[in-house]
Structure formats: C-alpha cells, structure tokens
C-alpha cells in the first residue's frame, strides 16, 4: 500500500522508539485497565490508559464481548473521580465502547446525575453520551431534560441536545417530533451554531409538511440568519420550496429569486456558492436569472484558493450540461485551469470545455487534452473519454480527429475500466456515425492485436462479426481475426472462430477462404474451439464453395436467442436430468419487468457500448417488440412504428404504481400499462384499465387485454388497443381508471383469500401527441441530406409564436412539439442572441424521412416569430408537419 509520507525514512527508526504506542498490545492494555478499579484513582494514569484504549479502537482493533464488558465496567468506576480531565476522557470512552443495552443501565444513573449537574459542561456531555447509547425506553425518561436543554441559555448545551435530536430522529422519530416547539424557539437563537443545528432539525421534523417548510422559509428569509452554515441550509430549503411551488404559479416573477440573488453578495463564500448553485438549478431558469450567478462563479475560477476554484468549475460543469451557451463566457478562464495543480479541477475544466466548445474549437482543445492525459489517473481519464464521446455525437463532422484521439489513447497504458470506456465510445461512434465506421473498425482491429483483456477482445470480435461483413471490403478484417486464433487463449480463440464463421455466412465470396481457415481450427488444443469449428463447417454448407448460406442456418447460428437469459437460467436450474431432453420451447418468453428497486432509481440513460449486445438484456425497443409479438392479439397488428418512453400515471409511493408506454402502429395505438402492486398484504386479480376516449374522437376502442393476477412487487402488464385512421397523426386525451379484484394475502402462508372485492383506482390522464408519430433519427451532415431531398417537396411558412420567455424556450418548445432530433448542436441557443437557426431530422409514421429548418427571430419584446421549411420524401408529410405546428 502506498505510504503518503515517506520523507523521513532515515530517522524513522529513531522516531518510532519514542512513540508512546510503540509495541502496544491489546492484552497488556487490558491488564493496565485494572487501575480503574483502584480505590485511590490516579487520574493521570487512568487518562493514559484510556488514550491507549482509544488508540487501539481507532486502529481497528476489536474487543471480544467479554473484554468489552470488562473494560466497560472498569470504566464506569471512573465516575467516582472528580478530576475534570479524566471525566472528559470518560465521556469519550463510553461513546467509543458503545455498550449493549443491559450494560447501559449501569451508567444511566451516573449520566442522569451529570445531566442535572450545575456545571453546564457536564450537562452537555452527559446529553451527548446518553443519546448515543440510549434506547427508546430510556429516551422517554430523559425527554423532559432534553426539551429543557434545547432552550438552554448555554449554546453548548443547546447544540448538544439539538444534534442528539438529529441523530435520534432516525431511530425514535415520534419522540423527537414532540420537541418542535422548543426547536422552533432555538431557531431564533442568537448563537450561530445553535441556529444552524436547530434549523437542520426543524426541517427534518417537518420535511413532509410542505406548508410548514414554506412558512419556515418565508419567515427566515425575512429575518436574520447568523451563521453561514445555517444560511446555506436556508438556501437549500428555499430552492426546495421554489421547486414545489413551481407547478402552481406558472409565469410571473419567481418567488424568492430576489432572496437568492441577494445571497450572491453575502460575505461568506459558502453562501455565495450555495446561492449560485440554487439559481443555476432552478427549473426553466432564464438567461437573465442565470447571468448574475455565472458572473460570480467566473470570478472564483481565478481564485487563489483551490476549494473555491473547484467549487466554481464543478458548478459551471453542471450548468454546461443544460445551458452550454451561458458558460461560454468563462471559457478563457477555464482553459487556464487545464494546467491546474489539482487534477480534479483540471479534469472538471476539460470536461466543461468539451461541453461548451463549438465546432471550431475542437481541434485546439484536443491538442491541449493530449498533453494533459498522460498525467492524470484512470478515473479522470474515463470522465474525459465520456465527454469526448458526447462531443463527437454532437459534432459528427469532427469524428476524424476525435476518433484518432481515442485510438491514440487506446494504445497507451491503462487499466481495464479505462480501456473499456474507450472501446465503448468507439463502438458507439461507429454505430451512430456511418462515416466513422470503417476507420473505427480498423482501430479496434489494431487494438486486439495486443489487448491484454480477454473480455474486451471477445467483445470486439463479436462486434466485428456483426459490422465487418457489412463493410465495402470485409476481407481486410480476416487477417486480424485469424491472428487471434494463433496467438490467444482459448476463450478469445473460440470467439475468433465464431467471428470468422459469421463472415463466411454473410459474405458468400469469402466462404471458400473462410472454410480453409476453419478447417485449420479443427486441430486446436481446446474442445470449445474445435467444437465451434466443426459446427460451423457442417452447418454453413456448400462444402466451401461460393454459395449462399441457407437463411434458416444463419438464423440458427447467429440469430438472437429470443428467450430472456434469466428465464433460460431458471428453467435450466429447475430441470432435473432424466430421460426427457431439455425442451427449450418450454422456457417462458415473457420478459419479466425490472424489479421494483431498479425502477425506482431511474439512472441516467447512457448509450451502452459493447457490454450490451451479447450479455445484457436486449434494448427496450427489442424487449417491447418481443413482448408485443408474444401476445397473439397484438402480434397481428404488425411491428410498432414507435414506442414512447414510459409516462407515470400515479404519484410516487402510492399503493399501485402504474406507468404507460404508447406503441404507435400504422393503424392502431396500443397502450401498455405497466402495473406494480406495492402492498404486501394484497393480491390483485383481473387487472385492467378502463379508458375513456371521449376526448379523442379519431380513436376507436378495439380490445382490452386484462392481467390475470398481480402479486406484490412483481410487475405485470395490461394492454388496451385503439384503432385510428392510417397514416394520420391523430391526437387526443384519454382518461384512465384501473379496475381489479383485490384479495387479501395471509402474511404467514403467502396465500391469497378465495374471495375478493371489486375495486378501482383513478389514474392520471394520458395524451397521444404529434411527437408520438415521429422517430428521432439523427444524421451526420444536414446540408447533404437536405440537398439530397427534392426541393419541390419543400413547404415553407411563417408563424408567430407569441410572447415567449426567451428564444431558447421557444426553440425547445418547437423541438418537443415535433419530437424530432436536433442536428449539429443547433438546439443550443446562445444567450442574448436575437435570432437562431435550428436543424431537425426525423422519420415520420409511414417511414418517411423528414428534415426541418427552423429560423427564429425576436420581433418585439419577447415576441418570437418562426420561419419553418420542411423537406421530406412525401409532400403530404411536409404538409402534416406544418399542420402540427399550426395547431400546436
């Protein structure tokens, strides 16, 4: 293990001899602890022994139950001493020993005595110790004293009681909640720290009572708050209130903004940052609101204190994710931070610049990063790699220099996680930027030539097998793949054999040569490699001639296994070896939804790289397709054109959690309701959703497929199908009611009662909007694509968008109305600009490609006008897009 400080290697031995803990040994110290039992206590000596015990505990030494009890009893004897220093040590020692419940009784009376002592400091410490070791029963006995202590005029006593309250709230909330009057009084304390602790406790007590929190914030923002720490808390609670009230008061001035803005001029830096962060995190923050916060943060970027530089760049980094243009003013300051001594600051600066940079600055930035990469740790490098990946997706035209950068760092030293991040990024770029494909595949080929990680080699080989045969010259990859068969371990060799076979199956011209190579693998020393080679040679057919591979064979060898791996695993586990062979058709194909816990924590949706295709569950689209095709009534509708992201129809933490996914077909819409029963004592049966479509005239009810049973915490789906006119982007609102039979479940046996009761549960409305008929499909070069479409099929019109909060808000509104993919980073609007052009691309229902060029301009104060030009393969679709905007 690395040793942080080795300056003094030479005289270390001498120094160590003087260490008071030299050669310290648990047994000996426990012996020494017997001095606690002496009738004539020697406070000095006792303190020394306690110090040794503390040292042992802090070193991670543990005492056995017997030892701990013995030490604890000995320690309690020390209450007899009147020595102040020893008493203070004693308090600490009891806390560190954390005695068991039956031992606590021994010290309770001594501590209670101290708690009523005339000496304030005895009171404060006794409170801290008691609360640390107490249980619920004891707590009710001392509650009275604690309430008094909260309003004690000595701030140390009050703080001790308040901090105890914060800890006790976790274990005995109902007791602590009774103290809110006293805590409320303490919030007004003149002592800075008392106010801080009281505010924290009061907020925790009331955190579920929105109105009370709002009142608290309102009164404190008008009054005075003495400590910067407390002021920071107040700012946090204020932003909470703003968040919660945002939905009620659309438009108008934002409440408390002036308070936050005022805090930007506070004398404590801590408060300034908290306020700046609060402002940048306001939902739908305007550039006018943002400016003062950014200005303050920019000043801190060149502070001499590293903590302030870190805090500033960290905050700006976050802002850059949502408002990249607002941060561009700081770019020059940020660039100088790239050489910051503190690597965390430098990394944050780099990644921020990557987010805010424009197309022209990419090359310069990459040069700076190249120098920087060699002297940071892997975990920072991963962050940079991820930032570069998103930059490349934003500016696809720059793929060449970014891809080169990735392949260069791929060749350098690095651990597995880092290499995996790079490989994942290259794979994603290959998938999303067609032009980058051949180049990227060759980089990967070169990498596996000397890749030390079996996992990455096999994943890359698999990927090559999928993408390689589709390139213009597949033969050039064969050499790289076949080299693996010579030089690698058995796992990689087997993967290479499969990849070769894929080339053989997909590219008929290569088949004879592939057969020669596969035959050589028949003499491999590993069973798996030989088996695979034999299997492929026998099934691909044609005996090595140039013939087309049978489609069924391709499907058999390389088709997706349309059974969820989890299900297969369970079935195999349950299978008992017998005469009957295992029947793969007996494995259920229904995709079991994610467990409750995972769904509650929606992670960031990141594009997955290599890890995804073979091992991980199929993408959501695939999962939906498989789910829908497994249900006979729905399979007949064909393939869905688009499946929306799930929309929650219930509030968080209600009895039943329901969300809906809209599947759009040419002539139908299917609502897939994902239901979860969160009550262990209930089982639901015959679950269905009754949909009222009176506000959706163009839709006609077709069928509803109820869910037979919905046990606790095991999600299930019910479906409702509607008809709609073909090709028309019909819209409408639907109100939903969940209907079911509820049965009680016996907690002991887990079995449901026979009799159930009909019940229903009101869900929120759902809406089918125009954007549901549009797939977001990006393109790398908008101009080329635009010009490739017939100019005669273009439709242009102008619209007044009325008063808008800002240009950016108007742009975002139109993008989400159309549901199209912004191209070339044009969704970001520079602050203070008076006009903006945004480029969108997508595929409209009926598989028609659509491109749109939107030009926005400010015509008056806050009045926004837009010129919309649409090109598509079908004039009717161009018209339809205009209709959407006109009616939107």
């Amino acid at each position: 293990m690395a040793q942080p400080l080795v300056k003094k290697d030479d005289d270390r031995d001498d120094e160590a001899e003087y260490s008071p803990f030299m050669g310290i040994e648990k047994g000996a110290v426990l012996q020494e602890a017997r001095v606690f039992n002496d009738p004539q206590l020697d406070p000095r000596r006792c303190s020394q022994v306690i110090t040794k015990l503390l040292y042992l505990l802090n070193q991670g030494e543990t005492f056995t139950k017997v030892e701990a009890t013995e030490v604890f009893f000995a320690v309690t004897k020390l209450f007899q001493s009147k020595d102040v220093g020893l008493r203070r040590m004693l308090y600490l020692m009891i806390k560190e020993l954390s005695p068991s419940a039956d031992e606590v009784i021994i010290v309770t009376s001594s501590l209670m005595k101290d708690m009523n002592s005339k000496t304030d400091m005895y009171r404060a410490n006794a409170i801290r110790v008691l609360c640390r070791i107490t249980d619920g029963v004891l707590l009710t006995q001392i509650e009275r004293y604690l309430k008094q202590a909260i309003v004690d005029k000595n701030p140390v006593v009050a703080s001790a009681a308040l901090v105890s309250g914060i800890h006790l709230l976790q274990t005995n909330p109902e007791v602590v909640k009774r103290w809110s009057n006293e805590v409320q009084e303490a919030v007004q304390s003149r002592a800075a720290l008392v106010q801080f602790h009281a505010l924290a406790l009061l907020h925790q007590i009331r955190q579920n009572d929105r109105l009370a929190v709002s009142k608290l914030v309102t009164s404190l923002t008008r009054g005075t708050v003495r400590s910067p720490l407390a002021q920071c808390l107040l700012i946090r609670y204020t932003s909470q209130v703003i968040r919660e009230s945002a939905s009620n008061s659309q438009g108008g001035d934002r409440p408390f903004y002036d308070f936050l803005e005022g805090c930007l001029r506070h004398k404590a830096e801590m408060v300034i940052f908290e306020a700046a962060r609060a402002i940048t995190e306001l939902s739908g923050v305007t550039s006018r609101e943002l400016t003062p916060a950014i200005t303050v943060l920019q000043l801190f970027l060149s502070s001499s204190k590293p903590v302030l530089r870190f805090a500033a760049v960290r905050t700006l980094n976050k802002v850059a994710m949502t408002h990249p243009m607002a941060v561009t003013n700081c770019n020059i300051d940020m660039e100088s931070l790239i050489s910051d001594q503190n690597r965390s600051i430098a990394t944050l600066a780099i990644t921020t610049l990557l987010k805010t940079g424009n197309e022209s600055s990419v090359d310069r930035l990459m040069k700076q990063i190249t120098n920087f990469m060699s002297d940071i740790a892997d975990e920072f490098k991963i962050v940079v790699v991820e930032a570069i990946r998103s930059l490349c997706l934003k500016f696809p035209l720059k793929y060449r220099s970014l891809m080169n950068f990735l392949s260069n760092i791929l060749r350098e030293e690095g651990g597995f996680e880092y290499k995996k991040a790079i490989v994942d990024s290259i794979v994603i770029l290959i998938r999303d930027i067609p032009d980058a494909k051949e180049n990227g595949l060759l980089h990967l080929c070169e990498f596996i030539e000397d890749c030390e990680f079996t996992y990455l080699s096999t994943q890359i080989l698999h990927f090559l097998g999928i993408e390689g045969p589709k390139t213009s010259d597949p033969s050039k990859y064969i050499r790289y793949i076949y080299n693996r068969v010579h030089l690698e371990n058995a796992t990689v060799r087997a993967a290479a054999v499969s990849t070769l076979a894929k080339f053989g199956a997909m590219v008929d011209a290569l088949k004879p040569r592939i057969f020669v190579l596969l035959r050589r693998c028949l003499f491999d020393s590993d069973d798996e490699v030989r088996d695979r080679a034999t299997l492929y040679l026998n099934t691909l057919g044609g005996d090595g001639e140039v013939v087309e591979t049978d489609k069924g064979v391709k499907e058999f060898l390389f088709g997706a296994l349309d059974i969820p791996l989890v299900n297969l695993e369970t079935s195999l586990r349950n299978y008992e070896a017998s005469e009957d062979a295992f029947d793969i058709n007996s494995v259920p194909k229904e995709v079991k939804s994610q467990p409750l816990a995972e769904k509650k924590a929606p992670g960031k949706k990141q594009p997955t790289g290599l890890g995804a295709p073979p091992a991980a569950p199929p993408t959501t689209v695939d999962a939906y397709e498989r789910l829908l095709s497994s249900i006979p009534e729905l399979a007949s509708l064909g393939k869905p054109f688009k499946s929306s992201a799930p929309t929650e129809l219930t509030e968080a933490e209600t009895e039943y959690a329901v969300n809906v996914v809209k599947h759009i077909y040419d002539r139908h819409v299917v609502f897939q309701y994902n239901c979860t029963n969160t009550i262990p004592e209930q089982q639901l049966e015959e679950v269905s959703v009754v949909v009222d479509s009176s506000d959706a005239e163009e839709f006609g009810f077709v069928l509803s497929k109820p869910l037979r049973s919905l046990p606790y915490d095991s999600p299930g789906q019910t479906f409702v199908v509607f008809e709609k006119p073909e090709g028309v982007p019909a819209v409408g609102k639907f109100s939903n009611t969940l209907k079911f039979i509820v049965k009680e479940v016996d907690p002991n046996t887990g079995e449901a009662d026979e009799d159930g009761v009909d019940d229903e549960y009101q869900l929120e409305e759902l809406e089918v909007v125009s954007a549901d008929y549009m797939q977001k499909v990006g393109i790398s070069n908008f101009r080329n694509a635009w010009e490739s479409l017939d100019a005669d099929l273009e439709r242009v019109d102008e619209y007044g968008l009325g008063p808008r909060e800002s240009l950016a808000e108007a742009v975002n509104a139109v993008i989400s109305l159309l549901g199209m993919q912004p191209c070339e980073g044009t969704e970001a609007v520079p602050s203070n600009s008076r006009s903006h052009t945004c480029l969108l691309s997508g595929v409209f229902i009926g598989n028609t490609r659509v491109l749109a060029r939107l030009q926005f301009g400010l015509t008056g104060p806050k009045e926004v006008a837009m010129k919309l030009a649409v090109r598509s393969d079908d004039i009717a679709v161009s018209d339809a897009i205009h209709e959407i905007v006109a009616s939107g």
Binding site: A2, L5, A377
Partner: protein, 152 residues
C-alpha cells in the same frame, strides 16, 4: 441494512500518520478498509509535493473530499449533501488549526502521538457522528477542558 444506510454519516474525517496510524471518525467499521485504500491512493497521487496546509479537493461518486498535509500528518475530510467542499474546507481549517495549537507547531509523528488523547477529544468536539458541531478553535479548546465558552 436500512438503518445502516441512514446512519451513514454525512461528514467524516480521518487522519493518517504514515501508514501505521489512522484514525477514523464516524465511519462504519466495514467501510473503513475501502476508504482507507481509496484515500491513501488519492494522497499518494497528489500530496507528494504538496506544501504544508495546501488544500486539495476531489469528488468521488457523490462525496467530496478535502485533504491536506500538516507536518507528518495527512488529513482527509469527506462529506456529502450539505457538507460540500466549502463546508469541508471550513471543517478542515478548524481541525488543522486545533492540531497545530495542541502540538504547538506543525506536528511531527512524535508530537502527534504524544498528544493523541487530547487530539481525540478535540475531534470529538468538532464532528459528532457526521454532524459538524463546533467550528471555533478557542471555544473547542475550552470545551476539551470542560470549561464553558467565554461568550454566550
């Protein structure tokens, strides 16, 4: 399990003295090894040429770490939520100030261990199981001796 999570402190600190003395305050025992190796690595990467009391800052997952060198001692303060890098800087400032006062100057290994008991008491006054309790050096000095603060 749940209780364990709730009790996870929002603020904790450790002092390292070489590799053989390491004090944790407020870290559940089962997490110590993980933190120890993480922080030792962080220190090894960054503190080699650090000046005395120069502050370093880093973030790791959802937590922030502010750390420094004080004589022979490496000091790390770790926090999350409201204990962000700025609050941690405040805490580390009190800790370094108090340790310097106790040891009379930037501590050597020897002086730190000689005053170990007093330093434990001081740390006990500054952070209590994840909550910053005192931030004033002079007051802490009095509290360790069970003297009331001078001003109310």
């Amino acid at each position: 399990m749940l209780r364990l999570r709730l009790q996870w402190p929002r603020l904790f600190f450790l002092t390292f003295l070489g590799f053989h003395s390491c004090r944790f305050n407020g870290v559940p025992a089962e997490e110590r090894l993980h933190w120890r190796s993480f922080l030792v690595k962080l220190g090894a990467d960054n503190l080699k040429h650090a000046k005395n009391e120069e502050l370093f800052v880093a973030s790791h997952k959802s937590v922030y770490i502010v750390y420094t060198v004080l004589g022979d001692i490496c000091l790390y303060v770790v926090g999350k939520d409201e204990y962000d890098e700025l609050a941690l800087a405040e805490a580390i400032f009190v800790i370094t100030g108090s340790i310097k006062d106790i040891c009379k100057k930037p501590p050597t290994e020897r002086t730190f261990l000689d005053k170990y008991g007093k330093i434990c008491l001081t740390l006990d006054e500054i952070v209590w199981k994840g909550i910053l309790e005192n931030t004033d050096k002079e007051r802490i000095k009095r509290l360790v001796r069970l003297k009331p603060p001078t001003e109310f």
